[in-house]
């Protein structure tokens, strides 16, 4: 403790001010209480604030035996100034689905991480892992040994493999959930441990599971296979509760607008008129929904959660291919399976998934995401390889260009033609 080396960090110190919880203050406190790594991290950050450039080297390849992912190598490019963070690798630890933790678990994790690393977490990484930032190469194997033996935990994904699946809180707490999101997340993670740990894909692949179209885990924007809850039957209506909203006894949207005077709740204006399909009717007494026209956008349910609930014949909509911009530009996921029952062991989903993987491993280029491959080969091809019947739900609108590919087998007579016969009829 006596030999802690503090750095002068006037700029970083500015970030201790202001009301929002300060990571700088937290790092400082931890540093002051004995972590040289935290102090060096603040020092290097200050240097970056001066130079306006990162001081981390391009990540080297490190890992644990037998795994192809879960660890990201990281080295300081000013190790002499900040020796305790000269190595500063990331460990991605697969979080329990929906991220509930017992304090027993967390405390034990802190003990381990103070012992084997910097004591700095990134809780959680964008993919969903418990991320621990800052350890050295020699600690990796012992750390993995600790994780598995002392925690029954495992690494998450990195590299060209399945990435750590994640999900919304679902039925654990949310009345909207049409899926056992955690159960699906857990099952997929367990089923595909090999794919998660041993890179065999052209690039990363991500599952995310949301219990309803509110999509609280942002699956539609960030996963190769968004699994999003929906229902096939009718929105359940409690007409009495509807009246309670109309008469101001219940607060619209559960009180989500409480700090501003938006005037009294107006069911016509706030629900009926905003329904994107205009399939709701209100005669002052009874709320009616033409469920066949409903696109299950959740708006009415969100506004009146005590009165409206998703139907009971629940399942998932499966989409494909969301991703960040690199290379071809960002993609939102495309609707592939409008409805699928999601019951253990999720056989239909897995069969579909494996068809996708087989094709992608066959056709995908190095570092080509599934979404990009679908764009390159065309959605019709993707549907063929995954054995899905093309239906209009898959498109915003039919194509506007007339550039249709026909197969030789689809056209009577095929593509062999008799030039002489043609010219007999048509002089050149």
């Amino acid at each position: 403790m006596a030999d802690l080396k503090k750095h002068d960090t006037p700029m970083v110190d500015e970030l201790k001010k202001g009301p929002w919880t300060s990571f700088a203050d937290d790092l400082q406190t931890r540093g002051d209480s004995g972590s040289q790594a935290c102090l060096d991290l603040l020092g290097q950050l200050e240097l970056s604030y001066n130079d306006k450039e990162t001081h981390w080297k391009h990540g080297g390849i490190v890992g644990v035996f037998g795994y192809g992912g879960g660890v990201i190598g990281r080295y300081s490019d000013v190790p002499d100034k900040f020796p305790s963070i000269a190595h500063f690798h990331t460990i991605r630890v697969n979080q329990p689905a929906s991220k509930f933790y017992s304090t027993k678990f967390l405390r034990k994790l802190c003990d381990m991480w103070d012992h084997r690393g910097s004591g700095v977490f990134n809780f959680h990484g964008s993919t969903g892992d418990m991320v621990m930032i800052g350890t050295s190469t020699d600690q990796l194997e012992p750390l993995f040994f600790d994780l598995t033996h002392q925690f029954d935990m495992d690494l998450g994904g990195s590299g060209s493999n399945l990435r750590t699946p994640s999900c919304c809180v679902g039925k654990a707490r949310c009345e909207f959930s049409c899926l056992d999101t955690q159960a699906i997340c857990y099952d997929l993670t367990m089923t595909y441990q090999d794919e998660l740990h041993r890179p065999a894909f052209p690039y990363k692949y991500k599952f995310k599971i949301s219990g309803c179209p509110n999509d609280c885990v942002a699956a539609i924007a960030r996963s190769c296979c968004p699994i999003i809850g929906t229902w096939r039957d009718e929105i359940r209506i409690d007409q009495k509760a509807v009246q309670a909203y109309v008469h101001g006894e219940l607060k619209p949207n559960a009180g989500a607008f409480s700090d501003r005077d938006w005037g009294p709740f107006d069911i016509q204006k706030e629900v009926i008129d905003l329904c994107p399909t205009k399939c709701m009717y209100w005669d002052g007494k009874e709320l009616k929904i033409d469920n066949r026209e409903c696109t299950r956008c959740m708006h009415c349910i969100n506004v009146m959660p005590a009165a409206l609930r998703p139907g009971l014949d629940v399942g998932a909509t499966i989409l494909a291919g969301a991703k960040a911009p690199i290379l071809e530009g960002a993609q939102l996921a495309t609707l592939i399976i409008p409805f699928i029952k999601m019951e253990y062991p999720y056989t239909e989903l897995k069969e579909y998934t494996e068809l996708v993987w087989d094709w992608w491993m066959e056709e995908g280029r190095n570092r080509e995401r599934v979404g990009e491959l679908i764009q390159r080969k065309g959605l019709p091809t993707f549907l063929r390889v995954t054995k899905r019947k093309p239906i209009p739900q898959m498109v915003k609108e039919p194509r506007s260009n007339p550039y249709v590919f026909w197969g030789e087998d689809e056209v009577p007579g095929g593509w062999k033609r008799d030039l002489a016969e043609f010219r007999k009829k048509h002089a050149a």
């Binding site: 802190c110 194997e141 009180g255 501003r260």
Partner: protein
């Protein structure tokens, strides 16, 4: 309702016994032999089963929740079919946190929420309590729970029509490709719009995200407001190093625009394989650097922050949308990025004043028209906001329908 019996044999199905044992710092050193890595090795365990960490009230009412209500900003009351009630207190948390703060969180959870803490998908922390007395005590405690510098350690909020936690990436604190810092920029922005975190006064949820480079580790591409680190100088090439640290064909293939070509140069009389970058074709995506450490892009003068707005994820009313780039570049101004935070705040406030109830930022902008958005938010329109990439044509205005605005006033 939740049947997990089929996972009984999974090793992580019940880790309670293990958790009773304290961490043994010597265990690995004693049992792991680097020469025989397969000895005693456990692999492919996966994560522990989630259900074991659930609070009691959740175990009992799984799938039986009936409705919810925001008791106050940051506090949600869930009611079950069984009549059970569960209060959730949500708190802001920086994603970067130390074992210090984590242990304090454990203390709080032990005291107030039955020893369970939960993280949300936007990195907020949640405590679950079942009685109003504890709820009140917890809230009171959190209000006075502060860092030495005065910031709230766990500010309450993030529910309803608010700005929730700003999701972000690693930045200068840990990544090798960033064009800006993440934690510092996000802290500065969160301070600026703090009043909207703990209140319900916006027209709808407003999600702010941050990514430090075009890799966009997060949902920056679909956020109401996004701050994005951007490079603006082409990579330079370390001829003397590239051959040993990169696979040249991979570096060449990495460039989406074919701006990287193989080349040969002479160094000390020796012919060396390397690459050359056609700088006029480069769009600074950084993909070459991802593949090849000998092609760095980072540059103090070149790098900075772009602002995107109008994206969303949910399918509520309108369909999910991409964020649109409205400001191509603001210089990096650590530690407080005042130009960025100022404009973010201005956008938030203009939106707050002008949008309809339930209307997300992008839907508002589309309704009033982008010319009006720029005008109202007092943001200069830049040529750089006109798409010229692959699907550019689909963003061009192919109608005579437009509004008069400050842009046309002096035609």
């Amino acid at each position: 309702m939740l049947d997990s019996s089929m996972y009984k044999d999974d090793i992580g199905y019940d880790v309670s016994e293990l958790m009773e044992k304290p961490y043994d710092p010597d265990f690995a050193d004693k049992n792991y032999d680097p020469k025989k890595p397969m000895q005693n090795r456990l692999t492919d365990l996966g994560p522990p089963h989630f259900a074991q960490f659930f609070p009691e009230v959740i175990k009992k009412n799984y799938g039986e929740w009936k409705t919810h209500e925001f008791v106050q900003p940051g506090v949600i009351k869930y009611t079950s079919e069984s009549g059970d009630v569960c209060y959730v207190v949500r708190c802001g948390l920086p994603r970067i946190l130390t074992t210090n703060l984590m242990r304090e969180i454990c203390d709080i959870a032990d005291k107030y929420s039955g020893g369970v803490a939960r993280w949300t998908t936007r990195n907020n922390l949640e405590f679950h309590v079942t009685d109003e007395g504890t709820l009140k005590d917890l809230i009171d405690f959190l209000k006075s729970f502060k860092h030495p510098g005065g910031s709230y350690k766990l500010p309450i909020g993030g529910t309803g029509a608010c700005i929730s936690n700003i999701v972000h990436t690693q930045g200068w604190i840990h990544c090798h490709t960033p064009a800006t810092d993440a934690s510092g920029l996000v802290k500065s922005t969160a301070d600026e719009i703090f009043e909207y975190f703990g209140s319900h006064k916006l027209p709808a949820k407003l999600r702010i995200s941050m990514a430090c480079c075009l890799n966009m580790c997060g949902a920056v591409h679909c956020s109401d407001i996004a701050m994005l680190g951007v490079h603006r100088k082409p990579p330079f090439v370390e001829d003397d190093r590239i051959g040993s640290v990169c696979e040249i064909p991979l570096a060449v293939a990495a460039c989406p625009l074919g701006a990287v070509k193989p080349a040969t140069v002479e160094i000390d009389g020796k012919k060396v394989k390397t690459v050359r970058v056609n700088q006029n074709r480069c769009m600074f995506c950084g993909n070459c650097y991802t593949m090849c450490p000998a092609m760095p892009l980072a540059d103090a003068q070149g790098d900075g922050v772009a602002i995107l707005v109008g994206g969303k994820i949910s399918n509520r009313i309108t369909t999910p949308k991409f964020s649109k780039l409205i400001i191509p570049y603001i210089p990096n101004e650590p530690p407080r990025w005042p130009s960025v935070t100022k404009v973010v705040k201005r956008i938030v406030e203009t939106y707050a004043k002008d949008a309809h109830k339930y209307e997300r930022l992008g839907d508002w902008a589309a309704r009033i028209g982008w010319e009006r958005f720029y005008e109202k938010c007092d943001i200069p329109f830049s040529e750089k906001s006109i798409d010229d990439y692959r699907l550019a044509y689909d963003t061009y205005h192919t109608t005579t329908q437009f509004k008069w605005s400050s842009h046309t006033d002096n035609l």
